[in-house]
């Protein structure tokens, strides 16, 4: 772990700070100054944050009801819903991206169905900021549902029944019994998804607009095509710093759970 992960990170950070010029080697914040004064780079960082926030919000809004339903429902319909929710786990994201273009793209399946029903065509999300959002929500659904369902196994039927017995309604059960128990799981799921999305490449590359770019394609292009490795590393360090905050959320949540289990 030291040589494969920690050392490259340390080197990347040092490379962005140490400048070798004609007057010798010195420490400089110039590459960071460029990044934070460059409207284009900041725009890319902003769209990455926006895409991540919107995707996570939509994802949790859909994943939470599904997992609660799966926790309490039984029977064939629940099995089908579970299979559908987990299915994207087995589809590679590149296949997903091309399926997206065929279905939601211009003159895709949705357009053909709408047209045959005499309805106006939709404005395709392909090559707009909504393209990656839809891709991310679909792709991260299984992970979120699985994590939330694991959290929901902490909610015992006794607790829910006891609350019902004293007259709690559905909303009250959700707010006072279920949410407090699964709050750590929501935090873990959010951290996981944020970490994955912030540096995502395939969906923003294939489905997103040319500009603004998300950090993943932006870093690769700066490194490979603009041939500016120092600026690419600077972008990577900024991305890493933001992801580290969410990593810290995750670690803290795990540590708390351990402490609680030990007590």
């Amino acid at each position: 772990m030291g040589t494969l992960i920690v050392w490259p990170i340390v080197r990347a950070i040092l490379d962005t700070l140490i400048v070798t010029g004609p007057e010798g080697t010195r420490v400089s914040l110039a590459s960071y100054r460029f990044f934070f004064n460059d409207g284009y780079s900041l725009g890319n960082l902003r769209i990455t944050a926006w895409t991540t926030a919107v995707s996570v919000a939509i994802l949790m809004t859909i994943a939470l009801p599904i997992s609660i339903y799966l926790r309490f429902a039984t029977g064939r319909v629940a099995a089908v819903v579970q299979a559908l929710a987990i299915f994207p786990l087995f589809v590679p994201s590149i296949i997903l991206a091309y399926a997206f273009i065929r279905v939601l793209g211009p003159n895709g399946m949705v357009d053909i169905i709408l047209n045959s029903a005499g309805l106006p065509r939709i404005r395709s999300p392909y090559l707009t900021v909504w393209g990656p959002v839809i891709g991310f929500v679909w792709d991260n659904m299984p992970l979120s549902v699985v994590i939330l369902m694991a959290g929901l196994s902490n909610v015992t039927n006794h607790a829910v029944e006891a609350a019902r017995d004293v007259g709690a309604g559905r909303i009250a059960v959700l707010v006072h019994i279920i949410l407090p128990r699964i709050w750590p799981s929501i935090l873990v799921a959010t951290s996981f998804v944020v970490l994955g999305l912030f540096s995502a490449f395939t969906f923003p590359y294939l489905l997103g607009p040319a500009a603004p770019e998300m950090m993943g394609p932006f870093m690769l292009r700066t490194f490979g095509d603009v041939m500016d490795p120092v600026q690419a590393r600077t972008q990577a360090v900024v991305t890493f710093a933001i992801c580290a905050v969410f990593g810290w959320f995750y670690v803290r949540s795990i540590a708390r759970n351990r402490a609680r289990a030990a007590a």
Partner: protein, 381 residues
């Protein structure tokens, strides 16, 4: 080992083909890298590999696809590092690679010099296609415009940049090109705009004359033409992320015209990906840029003899004919050494000249500049 010694070995092997066969009776696996689109990697896997292996028992070709990330650049850098430490590069041939990269590679003797390697077929190579003796041109293609003839009659198809520009503005949403760094069809469309803004003279741009003080202004003039077109493009200024994605939009009928590589467009029509009603046209005032792929063989290759034999093999009549008939490319050898019947059948696509545009610093400046000035110019409702 010095490069001259290695070339001598290559020469000796080629002068006596039977000996080469004997040498190959022991098994050798050639590592052949490609960074090209799937049509080219498929061509190697399905056509060249079986034919070469049948002709040279014991030799097999390992087609390695090195797309994305550093592409073949990192492979070539590894070969240069291996040359300096005297170890094996695990690289025999790259099907298409700029021999100027990595910097200093040619001076260090990294690539085999084809003019001195004694290939039986080197004399047949089209002189127009040779840029440097270190790259062996075996296939070429050029970007042209592919359009839907059911929506645009061939008689009305634009033939100059000005006509194309007028057509795009008169037919909003019907044209799209890909991001210039994500594939050559959009890349060379962008370069055509830069040519247009700089007197339509490709000789103005050379690999060694990028000047950080004056060159960006030359590119800006081309970007201004593109920004002017942006609001009239598909979805008010959308750009696909690759050659194949543009073809997909043309195939789905979402747009009427795209720039496309000649070989990819012909293959797509042959395979039914694009309908028979697809028209192809080249601008007459100055063609869109194209080029010939430059094959390189590392002088320190583990299987140097076999790699040089492979280089000769891809220039043979059978393989050069396959370049035309299988992938719709231009042959690396002169058209007049190929069968007359073939020449007549493909008379329409035989180019008289292929403008080129240098890579290096120019390529980096185009990628950076286009994303900063042209791409954000989107009007969304």
């Amino acid at each position: 080992m010095k490069r001259r010694d290695l070339i001598k070995i290559g020469l000796a092997g080629l002068a006596t083909p039977t000996l080469v066969r004997v040498a190959h009776a022991q098994t050798a696996t050639l590592n052949m890298y490609t960074n090209s689109d799937a049509n080219i990697s498929d061509f190697w896997t399905n056509i060249i590999k079986p034919a070469f292996e049948a002709a040279n028992p014991g030799v097999s070709i390992n087609v390695v696809i090195a797309r994305e990330g550093g592409g073949t650049g990192v492979i070539a850098e590894r070969a240069l590092a291996a040359l300096q430490t005297g170890t094996g590069p695990q690289l025999d041939m790259i099907e298409q690679h700029d021999p100027m990269l990595p910097a200093g590679g040619i001076d260090a003797g990294l690539w085999v010099n084809w003019a001195e390697a004694g290939l039986a077929n080197y004399g047949r190579v089209n002189p127009l296609a040779i840029q440097t003796p270190f790259g062996l041109p075996y296939r070429g293609s050029q970007v042209l415009l592919a359009y839907d003839t059911t929506k645009l009659s061939p008689a009305d198809a634009p033939r100059t940049w000005a006509e194309l520009s007028d057509w795009i503005k008169a037919n909003p949403g019907q044209f799209i090109y890909n991001r210039p760094d994500k594939g050559g069809s959009g890349g060379n469309f962008v370069r055509r705009a830069i040519h247009e803004a700089n007197g339509r003279d490709p000789s103005v741009f050379r690999i060694d004359n990028f000047d950080a003080a004056t060159s960006p202004a030359m590119l800006e003039a081309g970007f201004a033409l593109l920004s002017d077109l942006a609001p009239h493009l598909f979805d008010n200024g959308a750009y696909t992320s690759g050659n194949a994605n543009s073809i997909q939009l043309l195939a789905q009928g979402a747009v009427t015209m795209i720039p496309a590589w000649s070989d990819m467009a012909l293959q797509a029509i042959n395979q039914g990906v694009l309908p028979e009603t697809t028209g192809l046209i080249q601008l007459q005032d100055l063609a869109l840029a194209g080029g010939f792929s430059q094959s390189v063989v590392a002088s320190n290759a583990e299987n140097l003899e076999a790699a040089v034999a492979l280089a000769d093999f891809i220039l043979s009549d059978a393989m050069q004919t396959a370049v035309i008939t299988e992938i719709g490319g231009f042959p690396g050898v002169s058209w007049d050494v190929l069968p007359a019947e073939l020449r007549e059948r493909y008379a329409d696509v035989v180019p008289t000249s292929i403008p080129t545009f240098p890579g290096g610093d120019w390529g980096a400046a185009i990628s950076d500049g286009w994303y900063r000035t042209v791409a954000p110019n989107v009007t969304r409702d």
